[in-house]
């Protein structure tokens, strides 16, 4: 039987590791290394292979929670980690230069997985925006233009409640089909 899993992906510094940590019941297995490239301006370390966490769901069964590396040069891991996932959670770091373009990169790369399963989107770092509501409108408009019915929420990836909502929405999307 295939492992039950969900995958958190998205841009560098979007909060994927924090989201996995928020859900996981075990200490998260990380593959962080010291940042040496352009990431160094954002954070001290970066994920190069994956983050791995687990949740016990029943009778010894577990739900695996994976976080992918954010940088495109590690994109080969994206497909490996996403195989047979229940769905994809895409986090977008709104404080980056062009977060909508970032979003498109991930939608295109995970297109096949999203079509086979589903996706939800979380927008992070909105606290740095002058007008968070206006910032969110950019995403709502973009989704409307693209005809996406996927959920997109403003989230703080450090908050269990916000991450729960992402997973909850993912399940609801799977239920509706």
């Amino acid at each position: 039987m295939a492992q039950l899993k969900i995958v958190f992906t998205g841009t560098v510094g979007a909060g994927k590791t924090q989201a996995v940590e928020a859900l996981s019941e075990i200490p998260v297995l990380k593959t962080d290394v010291q940042a040496t490239d352009e990431v160094v301006d954002l954070k001290d370390s970066t994920t190069i292979a994956m983050d791995y966490g687990e949740m016990a769901i029943s009778d010894g069964e577990t739900l695996a929670v994976y976080g992918t590396p954010g940088q495109k040069r590690f994109a080969y891991m994206w497909d490996i980690l996403s195989r047979n996932a229940l769905g994809i959670v895409i986090l977008v770091n709104n404080s980056r230069k062009d977060p909508i373009e970032d979003l498109c990169v991930y939608v295109n790369n995970f297109k096949q997985h999203i079509e086979n399963t589903t996706a939800v989107f979380g927008v992070t770092h909105l606290d740095k925006a002058k007008n968070p509501a206006e910032e969110m409108n950019k995403y709502y408009t973009f989704f409307e233009q693209q005809g996406y019915h996927y959920p997109v929420f403003p989230v703080d990836a450090r908050k269990r409640n916000d991450v729960n909502v992402l997973v909850e929405s993912l399940l609801a999307m799977l239920e509706v089909g």
Partner: protein, 341 residues
């Protein structure tokens, strides 16, 4: 001190409803306006009676549509009809204007103004007794009381302290400005609690009130949402039960109180257009929950009546889940034990 009173509205709630017509040829816009009028009636009592435009005392129309300009001129000349412009801009001398981009709230604000204007003329000679006024307490106040116990504080757009027992709303002084205050009073009038006094208080008074509050840091949208989502009795959709609805966007569940069934309904209505009974049958969620969900999304302005381009969900079709239900239940059971009912 700034006070707000709906004395005029209260005193006429026992009178005959005012005939109102929507002379808009765009079917979606017309249905939306009619729905908002019905919602207005639900919230404030049967103030308006929807009639054909030819029989109406108040007519909502668009000058951009055929014959609109001619209609406006004749209405302004004959002085018997109250014309209300529904457009992006008001370039005329017509005093009543609904901003197309303003959603249900803008429409209800204008309708409240129109009503007060008509009412003023009607009631120069008639004063309602204090007894009548006390009989006209809007049920919305009672709903708020039952939902929020005695006090609520909510923050975001404005910092407000509401004491529903004394019917007072307080706003944190540093954030107060006259435009915001006027807007706030209109919102409260629109949802039927306009007899609440709005007054300025100091930050320390506000903090004091907040400390005593059972609910804190709620935005106005949260406030509207919670009113509607917890109210299983009100239905804004009685007369349009056959209409198909869809969501323009997802409610922000990271900030709005919800159960998993509301998330499923959001997923359903975001993807498909469906009537209330079909949505209930296909999701297995009781019809009254579907109605309260649609009420809440309607107040947030994110629900729309479906058009011919929407993907409709027919009674014959079935949902095709992308994962076994047992798997989803297991995950939910772990994540949201306290939320599943």
């Amino acid at each position: 001190m700034v006070t707000s009173s709906t004395e005029e509205i209260s005193s006429t709630m026992v009178r005959q409803p005012i005939p109102i017509g929507v002379r808009i040829f765009d079917e979606i816009k017309r249905k939306r306006l009619e729905q908002t009028i019905r919602m207005f009636n639900k919230l404030k009592g049967d103030i308006w009676q929807l009639t054909p435009a030819g029989d109406a005392q108040v007519v909502i129309f668009s000058p951009e549509e055929a014959g609109g300009e001619v209609f406006l001129k004749s209405a302004l000349d004959n002085n018997k009809i109250h014309p209300v412009i529904y457009a992006k801009k008001n370039n005329s001398t017509c005093p009543w204007f609904i901003d197309q981009a303003g959603g249900s709230l803008a429409c209800m604000n204008t309708l409240a103004d129109v009503f007060r204007s008509i009412n003023k003329k009607k009631h120069k000679s008639t004063e309602s007794s204090a007894e009548n006024k006390s009989n006209d307490i809007n049920p919305f106040i009672n709903r708020i009381k039952s939902l929020t116990r005695s006090q609520i504080v909510y923050k975001n757009l404005l910092s407000i302290y509401v004491n529903v027992d004394s019917e007072e709303v307080c706003i944190e002084k540093p954030q107060l400005n006259s435009i915001a205050l006027d807007k706030l009073r209109k919102v409260f009038e629109t949802i039927g609690i306009g007899n609440i006094e709005v007054r300025e208080i100091s930050s320390s008074e506000f903090e004091d009130g907040k400390a005593k509050s059972s609910i804190a840091d709620l935005s106005l949208s949260n406030f509207f949402w919670e009113m509607a989502i917890n109210d299983k009795q009100a239905s804004l959709f009685d007369e349009t039960k056959a209409s198909k609805y869809k969501l323009e966007r997802w409610p922000n569940f990271t900030r709005l109180q919800h159960k998993y069934e509301h998330v499923v309904l959001a997923a359903f209505f975001r993807r498909f257009a469906a009537d209330i009974d079909t949505a209930s049958a296909k999701t297995g969620i009781p019809a009254e929950v579907v109605v309260s969900f649609l009420n809440a999304t309607h107040l947030l302005g994110i629900e729309v009546i479906a058009d011919e381009n929407s993907i409709s969900f027919t009674k014959e079709a079935n949902l095709t889940p992308k994962a076994p239900k047992t798997v989803m239940q297991k995950v939910l059971g772990t994540l949201f034990k306290e939320k599943i009912h």
